[in-house]
Symmetry: C2
């Protein structure tokens, strides 16, 4: 069975919760799926929840950085929630550009923040 | 990699979107994960979205019926959303008791319905 990460649509936002460590293939599949879903649903925002992830390797970090930038190119605001210390360290050390990415503590707060931003 | 279905927590509800056909092992793992998550988060409600599922076999139907009844036993209201024709037929033909389960067209409406119910 091919592993894919479900992407939930809630109003004009997409929700993704990554709850288990991704292998490279799953991460690339997720990237493709998310971009398709943004296109298909005309979503204005995406919340990616990493609460359960306590470690990412450099490949996954790069895919994550890429998917954020790609989503922005497609016009969707991205909020990343629940970044744990080790994940933050990896992202910064690798210079993954999360410059103007919104972050929040958890999914609820992320969704709130996104809806505020979109409402403005 | 063991396949598990992510369970998202949003306020006092849990959201699950099943987007690919489950194999038996994944379905049982999901049942266990969901019940644990209800316990862990003290969730009052669960929305299970089946929009992308156009067919279920009898084993999965039984697991689904079981997990709904188990969640109710644990005090969580369950809303099933996006049941497609073939899935409805399988559930009814197998006599899976979805008697007092709430249903809705999609995730948004399911969550709305759940929050109404919980608000009452």
């Amino acid at each position: 069975m091919r592993v894919r990460i479900p992407i939930l649509k809630l109003n004009d936002c997409l929700l993704v919760s990554i709850q288990w460590e991704l292998d490279d293939q799953t991460a690339l599949q997720f990237q493709e799926d998310l971009l398709h879903k943004i296109h298909e649903t005309s979503a204005n925002g995406v919340v990616i929840d990493l609460t359960s992830i306590d470690f990412i390797d450099s490949f996954i970090a790069k895919v994550l950085g890429d998917v954020i930038n790609m989503s922005k190119l497609m016009g969707a605001k991205v909020v990343i929630t629940g970044i744990q210390p080790a994940v933050a360290i990896t992202l910064i050390e690798l210079g993954i550009g999360l410059d103007d990415v919104l972050t929040a503590l958890d999914l609820e707060k992320g969704l709130e923040k996104l809806q505020q931003e979109l409402g403005e």
